[in-house]
Symmetry: C2
Subunit: 163 residues, 2 copies
């Protein structure tokens, strides 16, 4: 592991990033809730994955990735580990992962965020960049989810409501 | 203006945030380019705005918002200031704004990121949260753009290609 950048002026603290991420996770939870049960698992646009699949991708990244970073393990990403059949199961797991994320995130030191790590044995970047990617990927897929909801004639939650 | 948070452990530096944001802007530029001229201005899903409109929203935020933060002005957000008729005009303005963003971002001090500011006379948040919102909003709308492209049968650029 090497330090890739010299920390100069701080943009935000680790606590602020975590609060920001969990705010986004609250919004994504609302988007999951907004889908009717059947459409959550089946509806999509342009041959893309239904929103349940996208939510499972997000569940498979956040907590497991942070655990890997903290434990220093490079086990491969595994989306198949959790295979729910209902919206309720997804939401329950989503809420469990909230605690998992808080638990592992709090164990990452300031220096560690600047060190490179081979996440899932595949994505070798500074830890802060990997974590930004988790958040960005969630916003990106949720943007797809908003489009699915609109195509279904359903009003999505307000983008700025996070808590 | 008041300081809203105590900076403790640094998550990322200001330079890292700027690089991250400009990487996203490069990707959004590629998404604009991927649309055929007509569809850029006319195509949408579920009654949402065409991608040209979303791109104009983004152009209306980044540079003008940073200028407002630096100059301390609370002029209202104005999307109508720029009304292009072609993809080329949008891309040209997009590239101009890259320099505007770099210029103003570099003038914000570490302390300032933690101060609240009434952006566009309407959004009163710490500066770092306002800036995160610009990036998030771009990723969100670009996620819609990806869905439009897929619905048009066009392969979007890779999400992870930023430079």
């Amino acid at each position: 592991m090497t330090t890739t950048a010299t920390a100069t002026k701080q943009f935000m603290s680790t606590e602020q990033l975590l609060e920001h991420w969990q705010g986004h996770r609250n919004l994504t939870r609302r988007v999951i809730e907004a889908f009717p049960e059947k459409e959550l698992f089946e509806f999509s646009v342009g041959g893309m994955r239904p929103f349940a699949k996208l939510a499972l991708e997000l569940i498979g990244i956040g907590g497991p990735a942070l655990k890997g970073i903290v434990d220093g393990t490079t086990e491969a990403y595994n989306e198949e580990a959790f295979n729910p059949k209902t919206k309720e199961e997804i939401l329950k797991k989503w809420d469990e992962e909230t605690g998992v994320i808080n638990h592992y995130f709090g164990q990452i030191s300031e220096e560690r965020f600047q060190e490179t790590f081979n996440l899932f044995g595949e994505y070798e970047f500074p830890v802060y960049q990997n974590i930004l990617y988790f958040v960005d990927n969630e916003i990106h897929h949720r943007g797809q989810g908003y489009t699915y909801l609109r195509a279904l004639g359903i009003e999505p939650p307000f983008f700025w409501e996070r808590f």
